[in-house]
């Protein structure tokens, strides 16, 4: 008979234990999982990036409802276990009793709330779960919001940096003399303090908190020395204590934590415990690596296999974007210890190694942390470093011939070198898995080995291993920097623009640490687009950051003259329009008139000075700019459809015109060309467009991601919809999704391939709520985009663009 396993606590440790269990023996247990939070398991380490807005909650979920369902886990989330009756082997909750054969207690830890007056006021919170994060984000959204963070340790500083990044005024109160005193020495603590102060965070060390002040809710924090800091929220991040109440009540042996042996078994042989609630050999653990080790051992114990948990050294990294900090081991000074220190104040680098008998005892790295893993590896193995002592501090790249190539350094790592500290994954495991499974992406490695899937700081190493293993077959497109002015890729820049609410080009360059004073011709147009797309109502378009064609709203030709293409909605024109064009051509002696591939008329060879006058005449006939120069909506080609064609199934011309009138003026990452064909004979060639529609009797088949330029590619089918209204909504939503996610100059077919056609279908076809939200955002941004640039300039805008500054007679030079 299947044994009944009850697990109390749905956190990272128990989640990992269940994974191991189901991997080894999917049907060994009938599992019921209790969790206090009303949601599944997520990666708690990544709450800081969620608070900073750099990740979404969805991205950090590790086990969702589907996973539990697939493994037949009965989930009882939001339900608290109130009692364990060990004699009868049942647990009780509000819904009654449940019997177990084996019980696993994984209740984790509770934040330590310092017992001061006012600690229970609304606005005082911990930084422990998603509810805390949501409460903080909500307050941060208010103008001039102020936060006081009590505790200058890892968690407190991550919270402080994230809240500051969201625009709050932040004060950090720390009891000790320097920040993160458990992980850092005073020098590194000082550098960190300076860095955070530079970001506008006030740091008060040796701060004795006396009380939280406030009537209805927290208003300020009072210190023993009389200092008062106003606060809308007070975040307590002073530490955690193992959550052991249920175990104590059940009569288990509990000291600081639930006491377990090497097999993770408590004083009751049928009750195991894992995670932060556990005490093993007088030590309680709070970092993820040992918790995962416990999970592995507990799974084996449940399956009656041999395994033993051994205490491990742990290393720490601070997850604050832009701060590089690594510490491992023990770095207190002592008689028999030596230290090696490297300081480079101008570069903000500080490295300190503590040695004892030629072995590394501890390492603190600030500013440059790439060698952290290497030092940590030697620390754990007790490697004798006497041979390389002189150059040890300069890192691995300096050993053995001064090879500075980071790839060479990774290649030189031994097979058993630990790459991912969180999940204990070594080099040979990653390389082996890449080869066995034919992996080609970082996500693939994460899925198969878990390496880089927790805190993510080893991502660079994993990518280097991918690159080493696959050679040129690995294309790390995601990490290519935008241009020489920054190390960030397009996706990171887009994400950070949103997360940190950066709303001008100088703000982006300042906050994201651009390496040049005002960017270059690659990044400025990209940033200008991202800001236009993300803040349509607030951002003032920077014309000096647009390419000439978009700046003057015409297409520059090889001789410096321009071409002008007015819109012909859906490719339909009239005698009056054609007459107006003919008149303009005569009046301005335009040398060439050409029909374009997008069903309209191009006038080429116009002098720049004549452009406003040409537009004025065209405007009188009702023409607006065709935006034939724009990274934006170009044309919507149509066929004559059911109006004339004996095969036409729908009014393709009408739909094309409707789409063009709805979407003109919108800026997109790269140009967008569309077409609507009235039947599957496809005279409008819709199946090689960015977005195309093929009308059929039953409705409208929407296509996307075609190409007929440098690359040739037929479209993918998005789906079939019944009505014109639906077709418009789906197309607009698709384009808005592309506007929000595409990299500058990346056409739809490349973007869609990168994120996956199914993902596009899922968001646009299947998720009506998402589709409507995209649609609404597009409509909102059109309010600011649908202004005819030609008529603006005819009325005098940007006059300086079209006139010489001065015309000098030759005499003037004398």
């Amino acid at each position: 008979m299947t044994e009944k396993l009850v697990v109390i606590g749905a956190g990272m440790a128990s989640g990992r234990m269940l994974e191991h269990l189901f991997e080894a023996a999917p049907d060994a247990f009938d599992v019921t999982l209790f969790g206090a939070e009303p949601r599944g398991n997520y990666n708690r380490i990544m709450l800081s990036p969620v608070l900073a807005g750099e990740k979404t909650f969805d991205e950090i979920v590790t086990h969702d409802a589907d996973w539990y369902a697939a493994n037949n886990v009965t989930c009882r989330f939001g339900e608290t276990v109130t009692r364990v009756d060990r004699k009868r082997k049942v647990v009780s909750s509000a819904r009654g009793e449940l019997a177990y054969d084996k019980l696993v207690v994984a209740t984790g830890s509770a934040p330590f709330i310092i017992p001061i007056a006012g600690k229970d006021l609304p606005g005082v919170m911990a930084f422990r779960d998603l509810d805390d994060v949501n409460a903080m984000v909500e307050t941060a959204g208010k103008p001039n919001a102020k936060a006081v963070v009590i505790g200058g340790g890892l968690l407190g500083l991550e919270a402080a940096a994230a809240l500051r990044g969201r625009g709050m005024e932040v004060v950090v109160l720390h009891l000790m003399g320097h920040l993160m005193e458990r992980q850092l020495d005073p020098a590194a603590g000082y550098l960190l303090k300076k860095e955070l102060e530079g970001r506008g965070i006030t740091i008060h060390t040796e701060a004795q908190t006396k009380a939280v002040l406030g009537e209805e809710r927290a208003e300020a924090v009072l210190l023993e020395d009389g200092t008062v800091y106003p606060a809308d929220i007070v975040v307590m991040a002073v530490g955690i204590r193992p959550e052991t109440r249920i175990a104590t009540d059940a009569g288990l042996h509990v000291e600081r934590g639930i006491v377990v042996n090497d097999q993770m078994v408590s004083s009751d042989p049928d009750i195991l415990a894992v995670g932060e609630c556990v005490e093993h050999e007088n030590i309680c653990y709070g970092l993820v690596a040992p918790l995962y080790d416990m999970a592995k051992v507990a799974a084996k114990t449940l399956l009656k296999q041999d395994a033993a948990f051994r205490p491990v050294e742990t290393a720490t990294q601070l997850k604050v974007t832009g701060v590089n900090l690594y510490s491992a081991g023990d770095f207190a000074e002592a008689e028999d210890r030596e230290e090696i220190v490297l300081r480079d104040a101008s570069a903000g680098v500080y490295k300190r190694l503590v040695l004892k008998e030629n072995r590394i005892m501890g390492a603190v790295l600030y500013g440059e942390t790439a060698d952290g893993g290497w030092f940590f590896d030697m620390l754990k193995k007790g490697t004798d470093v006497s041979e390389m002592r002189d150059t040890l501090i300069f890192g691995q790249a300096y050993q053995g011939g001064g090879q500075l190539d980071p790839m060479a350094a990774v290649a030189a790592l031994p097979d058993d070198a630990e790459i991912c500290g969180c999940n204990g994954v070594c080099k040979s495991k990653i390389v082996g898995t890449i080869n066995e499974n034919g992996l080609t992406t970082l996500d693939g490695v994460r899925a198969h080995t878990k390496a880089s899937a927790s805190c993510g700081t080893c991502t660079g190493l994993v990518e280097q291993l991918l690159s080493l293993t696959l050679g040129d077959a690995y294309n790390p497109a995601a990490v290519t920097p935008m241009c020489g002015c920054t190390d960030l890729g397009h996706d990171d820049v887009r994400r950070l623009i949103k997360a940190r609410k950066l709303k001008t080009i100088p703000a982006v360059m300042q906050e994201l640490e651009w390496k040049t004073s005002c960017g270059c011709a690659k990044c400025r147009p990209a940033l200008n687009y991202y800001l236009v797309a993300d803040w349509p109502d607030e951002y003032a378009d920077d014309y000096q950051s647009r390419f000439i064609n978009e700046r003057v709203h015409a297409n520059i030709q090889k001789d410096g003259t321009y071409s002008v293409v007015p819109r012909m909605w859906g490719g339909v024109t009239s005698a009056a329009e054609l007459r107006a064009i003919a008149d303009v051509v005569d009046k301005f002696n335009i040398p060439t008139v050409k029909v374009t591939g997008g069903q309209r008329i191009d006038m080429l060879g116009i002098e720049k000075e004549d452009l406003p006058a040409v537009w004025a005449d065209l405007g009188k006939a009702g023409f607006v700019s065709g935006q034939a120069y724009a990274k934006g909506l170009r044309t919507v080609k149509t066929c004559v459809g059911s109006d004339w064609c004996r095969f036409g199934t729908q009014d393709s011309t009408g739909l094309g015109i409707r789409i063009e009138k709805f979407m003109w003026g919108s800026w997109t990452p790269a140009k967008v060309k569309m077409a609507v064909s009235g039947c599957p004979r496809n005279c409008a060639e819709a199946t090689c467009k960015d977005v195309g529609v093929i009308c059929v009797d039953s409705g409208f088949e929407i296509h996307f991601a075609g190409a007929a330029g440098l690359d040739i590619k037929g479209t993918e089918v998005l789906g079939l919809v019944r009505s014109e209204d639906e077709a418009l909504e789906h197309i607009v939503a698709l384009v808005q999704m592309y506007r929000e996610q595409g990299r500058y100059l990346e056409r739809i077919y490349k973007w869609a391939k990168r994120i996956g056609y199914d993902e596009v279908r899922r968001q646009i076809m299947d998720d009506a709520e998402k589709r409507k939200a995209y649609f609404e955002r597009f409509v909102f941004s059109q309010k600011f985009a649908q202004v005819d640039p030609w008529s603006e300039r005819v009325s005098g805008k940007d006059k300086h663009e079209f006139k010489p500054m001065a015309t000098l007679s030759l005499e003037a030079a004398e």
């Binding site: 270059c520 000096q544 950051s545 000439i548 010489p804 500054m805 000098l808 004398e814």
Partner: protein, 114 residues
């Protein structure tokens, strides 16, 4: 005329040119592009890229350089020389700002050296 007595011509006010932008000055058959950088320095180049004669005045101005609108050559505003792997150079003209007015000398640096 000798090198000591440059003859300066006032061509307009500094504000006539947008920051990180350019305007043209026509001098007979020659077009001179006058650039204003983000930090309000002014430079003047013949409005012709050494590559395919693209109008540099229409390019994007960044730091001390302009990127040609035709094929993205990057030209130094100070020296007129192509940057990076590209080779070639464009005539430069002395330019300065006095009391908010831009003054241009019409003898190109090359002529002066001759």
């Amino acid at each position: 005329m000798n090198a000591m007595s440059e003859s300066w011509v006032a061509i307009g006010k500094l504000e006539d040119i947008p920051r990180r932008g350019a305007r043209c000055v026509k001098n007979g058959d020659t077009t001179i592009a006058v650039f204003r950088t983000a930090d309000d320095r002014v430079f003047a180049l013949e409005d012709k890229c050494p590559h395919r004669k693209g109008p540099l005045s229409q390019g994007i101005v960044h730091d001390g350089c302009v990127t040609c609108p035709l094929h993205n050559w990057v030209i130094s505003l100070e020296t007129g020389r192509a940057q990076g792997a590209d080779e070639g150079s464009t005539a430069t003209f002395p330019a300065k700002v006095e009391d908010g007015r831009i003054l241009l000398s019409l003898r190109s640096a090359a002529e002066k050296a001759a």
